[in-house]
């Protein structure tokens, strides 16, 4: 029995270390994926997004969704959610409607997608809605204001957004106010971001 207990402890310590390793994986993948999404124009594959599958997902209020968006949201959770966190769409707010249509319909043609064309269209409706939702940086970022002081400290912002934090913190006081976030959002050029968000060949219209 002592041997069993001893191995249990060793196992727990081992697993604890492995959990920590898993938590760092998202950033490591981000670092590792400095690769082009376009391979000679013949075949493109979506690079993995820099998020961790166990990271908290953004809070979405279904009350603010229309019936069509809500339908798409439920489908996203049941279909796309098989492989992807909700962060997948939240972190691709720069993608255009065209990009989203390409991506979702490509997913439909993957094994185990279980998606019909009608369902894919509904999912596109949701992710486009969420992309707009996520573009409202003030609302999205202020959701991380854990102490409720109306400002964001760097420690309150998820790691994946800290690069943006530095760029938005124009007065370098280590805090972001809603006004600073708003100015940062206005300074962005969405057309450049949309161009870089294209992933995969154009979707062929299905008959």
């Amino acid at each position: 029995m002592n041997i069993l207990v001893r191995f249990s402890m060793v196992g727990l310590i081992w697993v604890s270390g492995a959990v920590a390793l898993h938590g760092q994986a998202g950033q490591r993948v981000k670092d590792a994926l400095g690769l082009s999404a376009d391979k000679g124009g013949k075949f493109k594959i979506c690079p993995a997004q820099a998020y961790d599958q166990d990271a908290p997902e953004p809070a979405l209020s279904t009350a603010s969704m229309s019936a069509g968006v809500l339908d798409g949201y439920r489908l996203f959770r049941s279909k796309c959610g098989q492989c992807h966190s909700l962060n997948q769409s939240a972190t691709k707010s720069e993608a255009s409607v065209h990009d989203w249509t390409n991506m979702v319909f490509r997913m439909q043609d993957m094994p185990s997608s279980h998606m019909s064309e009608t369902q894919s269209k509904a999912i596109v409706t949701f992710v486009v809605w969420q992309a707009d939702y996520s573009n409202d940086l003030v609302k999205t970022l202020m959701a991380f204001d854990k102490d409720g002081d109306g400002k964001l400290s760097k420690s309150e912002v998820p790691e994946r957004m800290q690069g943006m934090f530095d760029r938005a913190d124009t007065n370098r006081d280590g805090m972001l106010t809603p006004e600073e976030i708003r100015k940062y959002a206005e300074a962005q050029d969405p057309s450049l971001a949309a161009a870089s968000g294209n992933c995969g060949p154009d979707h062929q219209t299905k008959k």
Binding site: A25, R28, A48, D54, D109, P111
Partner: protein, 423 residues
């Protein structure tokens, strides 16, 4: 012989197969990208292996399918952490109660580290070569470091029509077969069909060394996938010691299976196995003798997924082994027919309820006639993390039957609760 049968009942254990989480890290997807609930593979996971450990791309109508070389070029940069899994572990509590005619019943309980496996798997950078190595440190609660699998392979063709050739040490059934034929199961304890229950001690999922070749064809959107696999193997150390317990040499086996997946997540598998070896009987006794035995298995398995919620599975396997208990008395056989039915209800993608029934009919030359063993099993599987890397399982099974040699009745009740970590 009745004693050995009872021991088999006592040692029903988890088949030593698990999810390999390095792939989830590499592509930053949830475990459920390739599993319904780990370790049960879905079609994506099946295709991942068939393509030489590359994620299957979208196969859209009218578009050229990428070649395996294209997939290699599109892979993320190779790094150690995304090719190794160092803590695939199962912490288990088991409570068992066994009875046997003519003996007093016995109960046992205990907590143990049931499994601790390590994996290395993936592709050789910038090539079509792939590899898999599995090093098990703890198996069934026993510290027993073993290199269970170690093989290299090469994949060619494109995502729609591809082939592979692999060689090395490989469990016969790893990654083969549609879901009903796979040894992967939602049951914490391994199903009766894939256990060692015959008097000839044949182990269905064995680990010899050999060659493995396969061809896979997929239609647009993977609506249909057809796959053929053939394996030719020699016994470990070429002496057959892992083919049958008392074997000494000249063990050979051939395995063929044909799989058909049809969307969504349904499939049919036919498999055929032929083995031959020198079987030593009555080892150590004056009556010891050796004869050349052949071992045959044919199986047909199918599952149908309803509304991506309810998976109905079933299968049949026929066994026929040469059998001699006395030297010079040729013409004896061990025969068995094994049937099972199972239903898995995925309440949510993270929660599944399962029920299963197995029946195994056996008879052997010189024995009392046809004897049967029945097993009822139920299980709950629940993932505890968004990624699906930690899974809790609770299972119960009741097995009863008579052995085909002495017709001694035995029963086994097993309650098993475990937590499976995939890191």
């Amino acid at each position: 012989m009745s004693v050995s049968f009872a021991l088999v009942l006592l040692t029903l254990t988890q088949t030593n197969l698990n999810a390999m989480p390095q792939y989830s890290r590499r592509y930053n997807v949830k475990c459920s990208a390739c599993h319904t609930i780990a370790p049960v593979l879905n079609e994506m996971g099946y295709m991942f292996k068939r393509l030489g450990y590359h994620l299957p791309p979208a196969l859209s109508k009218g578009q050229k399918a990428p070649t395996i070389s294209d997939l290699v070029k599109a892979e993320p940069q190779w790094n150690m952490a995304d090719n190794f899994a160092i803590a695939v572990a199962d912490f288990s509590f088991q409570l068992t109660r066994n009875t046997q005619e003519g003996a007093s019943s016995a109960s046992a309980s205990g907590f143990q580290v049931n499994v601790w496996n390590n994996y290395a798997g993936g592709w050789v950078p910038n090539t079509n070569f792939f590899y898999l190595a599995e090093f098990d440190i703890i198996t069934n609660g026993v510290v027993s470091p073993t290199l269970t699998n170690a093989y290299f392979g090469y994949a060619g063709g494109n995502a729609k029509s591809n082939w592979y050739l692999a060689g090395g040490r490989e469990h016969l059934q790893i990654g083969e077969g549609t879901r009903a034929a796979g040894v992967y199961s939602l049951m914490p304890a391994s199903p009766l069909m894939f256990e060692t229950v015959s008097p000839t001690s044949f182990i269905f999922d064995q680990s010899p060394v050999g060659l493995d070749a396969g061809y896979t064809w997929a239609s647009d959107g993977y609506k249909n996938v057809l796959a053929l696999t053939g394996k030719v193997t020699n016994g470990d150390n070429a002496d057959g010691s892992e083919i049958l317990g008392l074997s000494s040499k000249h063990a050979k086996d051939v395995w063929v299976d044909a799989d058909w997946w049809f969307a969504p997540e349904s499939g049919v598998t036919f498999l055929d196995y032929y083995g031959a070896k020198d079987q030593t009987q009555n080892s150590g006794a004056d009556s010891q003798f050796t004869y050349r035995a052949t071992i045959r298995r044919q199986g047909l398995f199918a599952n149908y997924m309803i509304a991506n919620k309810v998976d109905v599975l079933g299968g049949y396997m026929r066994s026929k082994d040469d059998w001699q208990s006395v030297a010079g008395t040729g013409g004896g056989y061990f025969r068995a027919n094994d049937y099972y039915g199972e239903a898995n209800y995925y309440v949510t993608p993270k929660l599944a309820l399962s029920g299963r029934y197995d029946v195994l009919e056996q008879r052997i030359t010189g024995g009392p006639g046809r004897e049967a063993a029945h097993e009822w099993s139920a299980a709950v599987n629940r993932t505890f993390t968004r990624s699906g890397a930690i899974i809790g399982r609770l299972g119960y099974s009741y097995l009863s039957g008579r052995d085909p040699v002495g017709a001694v009745k035995s029963t086994n009740r097993l309650v098993q609760a475990d937590v499976l970590f995939n890191f």
